[in-house]
């Protein structure tokens, strides 16, 4: 028990991210409605983004904005230590990923509207039935 507790504290975040990712994957595979599938894809995406952001986190560090540097004066001669600031690199990569995710979400919704215009349904099994009729 004594060596299990530090393990839980150190890793429970990753376990919950994996559970979130499993929820998204399940919705993508097993749900019948196309919009539900898109929601599952978004949940999957955010779980992975969450994992990426979390690996940049450092204990006892502050936000990745340099302190006392507004205006960009050279006056401050203080040396900047990397250990005082949270790793900004995953933030940058995931910032672009979020904006791409809204773009793909918009295109997916446009496709859903188009499919509904033509087949009057969004359920996968009904859609397959309509397709086999023709």
């Amino acid at each position: 028990m004594t060596d299990l507790l530090p393990l839980i504290v150190a890793k429970y975040n990753y376990w919950l991210y994996v559970i979130l990712m499993m929820i998204g994957l399940y919705a993508m595979i097993a749900k019948n409605n196309l919009i539900k599938k898109v929601v599952g894809m978004n949940i999957f995406q955010t779980a992975i983004i969450l994992f990426y952001v979390s690996i940049g986190y450092k204990k006892d560090a502050t936000l990745p904005i340099i302190q006392n540097a507004h205006g960009g004066q050279d006056a401050h001669a203080a040396v900047i230590h990397a250990i005082d600031y949270i790793n900004p690199l995953p933030h940058v990569l995931m910032l672009t990923a979020i904006v791409v995710s809204v773009a793909t979400f918009g295109v997916a919704m446009a496709l859903a509207v188009r499919i509904y215009q033509r087949y009057q349904t969004l359920e996968e099994d009904e859609l397959r039935m309509r397709l086999s009729e023709k």
Binding site: K11, I80, P88
Partner: protein, 273 residues
């Protein structure tokens, strides 16, 4: 299908849970992700670029190619929505409402149109009377939202924010106009062509600023080469980033409005939420 899905998900989840045992501990400052490249970014940002917000400086300067092609992805998404949904045929039937009396005219001939103004107004099939309170509140709120969006773009070098966030907030102010009045108000206020030009212009600003660096004697996206052009050569990289962020903001704003208008009116640009 459900059973198969559960099996696949459990297998994947089990493998990943097994994999977490090799991950670095939560918040470990010496994890591999935080030791190699990011230290350089954190320590040299002020020295190189004079921008306090490290995320902006990495986004727009050190990793500028990433952001440039990502803006192209946003533009492509707007284009895809336009191509998928846009319908130029127009509707056959039109409904008009005579304002003083409330009489509804149903025009079946698609070519006949009435002038909309003081006497007549457009109507949808599922028309609801416009609410005065919502309209007035939104009319007061929209300019402030837009000023805030511009602040977010302009202040992105110093605080959280930047082109993406500012562009999305500006676009959502346009969407608010379409929701609180009706879609026709937005489409008449900002023409479809203008939105398309803005989306393309945003990408052009980004690529243009990046490309001007080459005849000035630098590499692509090397803002230091622009020093003779700006009034403050000391902060040239910060100014280059600001220009790039404005381009991103234009593109994102226009694309959000294009996607919304096309989805909500099924590409006919006449009636919507």
């Amino acid at each position: 299908m459900k059973f198969l899905g559960v099996i696949i998900v459990c297998l994947t989840g089990g493998l990943l849970l097994y994999g977490t045992t090799d991950f670095p501990d939560w918040g470990d400052p010496s994890s591999p992700a935080s030791t190699h490249l990011s230290d350089y970014y954190i320590e040299k940002t002020i020295e190189d670029t004079k921008v306090p917000n490290i995320v902006t400086s990495v986004l727009a300067d050190y990793r500028g190619f990433d952001t440039m092609f990502e803006t192209a992805v946003i533009f492509t998404a707007g284009l895809a929505c336009f191509i998928l949904l846009r319908d130029f045929r127009g509707k056959k039937e039109r409904f008009y409402r005579h304002k003083p009396t409330g009489v509804v005219l149903h025009v079946k001939d698609g070519k006949k149109t009435l002038t909309v103004g003081k006497e007549f107004e457009h109507m949808d099939k599922d028309w609801v009377p416009s609410d005065l309170i919502i309209k007035t509140v939104c009319r007061i709120l929209i300019p402030f939202i837009q000023i805030y969006a511009m602040y977010v773009v302009a202040h992105g070098d110093f605080s959280p924010g930047g082109g993406f966030q500012g562009g999305v907030i500006f676009g959502s102010s346009l969407i608010l106009l379409a929701i609180s009045y009706d879609l026709k108000t937005l489409v008449n206020r900002i023409k479809e062509k203008v939105l398309g030009i803005f989306a393309a212009l945003g990408v052009l600003i980004f690529v243009g600023i990046a490309a001007i660096c080459m005849p000035m004697g630098g590499n692509f996206l090397d803002y230091t080469a622009l020093a003779p052009l700006v009034w403050d050569p000391h902060h040239v990289r910060a100014l280059g980033m600001l220009g790039v962020e404005i381009g991103v903001g234009f593109a994102v704003m226009a694309v959000m409005a294009i996607i919304y208008i096309n989805i909500v009116s099924e590409g006919r640009h006449d009636e919507g939420l």
